[in-house]
Amino acid sequence: MKILKKLAITASAIAMMSVGAQAAGEIKVGSAGGVTGPIAELVAAIVKGRQVAVDHVNSSGGLLGGDTMKLVIADSACDPKAAVDAGNKLVNVEQVVAIIGPSCSGATNGMVSSVTIPAGVTVLSDSATAPSISELKDNDTVFRASASDAYQGKAIADLVWKAGIKKVAVTYSNDDYNAGIANVFTTEYKALGGEITGNQAHEPNKASYRSELSTLNQGGPEALALFAYYGSSGITIIKNSLENGLFGKFYAADGMFDNSVIGQIGADNLKGNLWITQAASDTEDASYKAFAEAYKAAGGDPEAPYAAHGYDVAFLMALAIEKAGSADRSKISAALRAVAGPEGEVVRPGEWEKAKKLIAEGKDVNYEGAAGINDFDKNGDVTGLFSVNIVGDDGTWSRSMLK
């Protein structure tokens, strides 16, 4: 029983700490993300993006009457069990105004259905892309700043078709994100008249994909449509293909976009044979530039997948709280729609003071995000802008917009 006593003391100490930590003049927003689990390496960059936005808000006036915006991190681990627990803590213990995140579609699905929709808390995810999220009965409390897979899959299909490629092989990592986008791609590409010579799922984190690639190479495909995360299988697949002369052209979606792709495979090997679409705006776009500068200053790589989305959701949420005029959960959903556009004066990343002034004057704001225009449709989704990245002459990524 001695142990029990000790444990009881520790537990009560933990409880005391959490009660005592309520600082004055602080508005808490939940920041859920899969900081552990299968896509932890992507989430680190996204969470950084959110924090950069919050720093912008706090360093130029803060929320409402000078309150600081505080992100409370909760680990949703890309696992619905963990996400529901994380959501519960954010909603009930931390009493957050709203939640940004989580990262994975499955975690988002579990958290919103089980916790936030019943509690009436607004959720704005930066990287959940599953189409099923659009269909939830959510009383208009679930939003996302990244386009549903349905849009990106179509964008890639168009890109491949327009490049004059008539036959492709498809392989996708068997997870919620990549399986979904691959599915849309194959449907759209066939609708355009293209031929899919082979379509195979692969299990991530295997040491070698040579045999899968060899099988996929049957039937004369001109390119490989590769839907994978760069870390768990994408890089290995490109390496295996190039080393063995199996595939020479690759089309991929934004789970593949990272500097380590160039770092590990080598720019010379990728020039002219890799196209990665990404939900992102033009690098020349004022919004993107503003974000990229700030993100770089914070020591991050602004081109990391969904980092810009991470920034956008945090900034949008700050605008929504400002617009709502108080940290009242029930007002966030409507306020979010109001600040996202399309009507009103354009506000870009970093322009917090300007936005604050406009809202104070009762004017409409239209946030044009670092990752694209955030105008929500009736499901709380955005259509998104897509760019295509290739390895440029200087050995780094070069981006152009897709229309």
Partner: protein
């Protein structure tokens, strides 16, 4: 045929050598310490991260710094044994299994905490294979892996056959009671087991890292195939583990060869299941494995 050899057989051989080296440690711990060590995969991960750090510090080829990484991994294994396994030496064996289960997660979280989860590489870039006899493609790094694996396997063979401690290890694995009666220092044999197991695990991990990349869950992904290899070869049979590793590696790759028509024989999504399926089959029909290992 060339396609079969290039894209199914050779990758299977590489993967098999990696499994084989890892499985030797598992099979020896299983027979000498009498428990299934779930933390073995994480020794591998940790070894790879040691090697990665050394490559960053010195700029040398990963195979050159590998011996130092092996020493570090051995030190880790010995201290783990001292702190976590030794106090449980007289407890029911299953306690050791539970302890190793816990250590698996502890070690992984330490790696994730200190090195982060970003993907790393010990040997960036790609290597075009050399064409042999016009149709065989062999990449230089694969030659390196296979040759180094052979050297290590030979070293293990030498150790077990010609050295005093190696003979003691074999005696212990054949019959622990008899070994104790003949005055073999069991603690010494236990330590030697950890040294051999950890060093080989580190090497296998580095080979895998050379072939692919470095990430925090690479060891865990190999754990079950390595168990399968150890059981297939017969528990306590280092040579069995070698053969078992090669068979599992080859079977995984060849399972998706389009033997009939152009569709893969087995949906590659299930490739990871091949090792388990073989293992379960062996457990049903021949639990002593191919080389008449121990069955507890």
């Amino acid at each position: 045929m060339a396609e079969f050899i290039n894209f199914y057989f050779i990758p299977g051989l590489i993967l098999g050598s990696i499994y084989a080296l890892g499985a030797i440690g598992i099979t020896m711990t299983f027979v000498i310490l009498r428990f299934a060590n779930f933390a073995h995969g994480e020794s591998m991960t940790l070894g790879v991260y040691f090697a990665w750090t050394l490559v960053q510090l010195t700029g040398l080829h990963p195979l050159v710094v590998m011996p130092i990484a092996m020493v570090l991994t051995v030190l880790y294994a010995l201290s783990i044994d001292r702190i976590f396994y030794k106090p449980l030496r007289n407890a029911p064996v299953v306690m050791l299994v539970v302890a190793s289960f816990g250590l698996m997660l502890m070690t992984r979280s330490v790696v994730q905490f200190f090195w982060g989860v970003q993907l790393k590489s010990v040997l960036p870039g790609i290597q075009k294979p050399i064409m042999v006899l016009d149709y065989l493609r062999i990449s230089p790094k694969h030659m390196m892996i296979i040759i180094s694996a052979l050297v290590l396997m030979f070293a293990v063979h030498y150790l077990l056959t010609y050295t005093k401690i190696g003979k003691a290890m074999r005696a212990m694995s054949d019959s622990p009671e008899l070994a104790r009666l003949t005055g073999i220092d069991t603690e010494k044999v236990v330590l030697a087991t950890w040294v051999v197991g950890a060093a080989l695990a580190c090497a296998a991990g580095v080979f895998l890292a050379i072939d692919t990349h470095v990430e925090t869950r690479m060891g865990f992904k190999l754990l079950l195939p390595m168990f399968a290899a150890a059981i297939l070869g017969g528990v306590g049979r280092p040579y069995g583990a070698l053969v078992g590793g090669l068979i599992i590696g080859l079977a995984e790759e060849i399972s998706s060869y389009p033997f009939i028509g152009t569709e893969p024989l087995l949906n590659p999504g299930y490739k990871a299941g091949v090792a388990f399926a073989i293992m379960i089959g062996i457990l049903i029909w021949r639990p002593s494995g191919l080389f008449k290992g121990k069955v507890f």
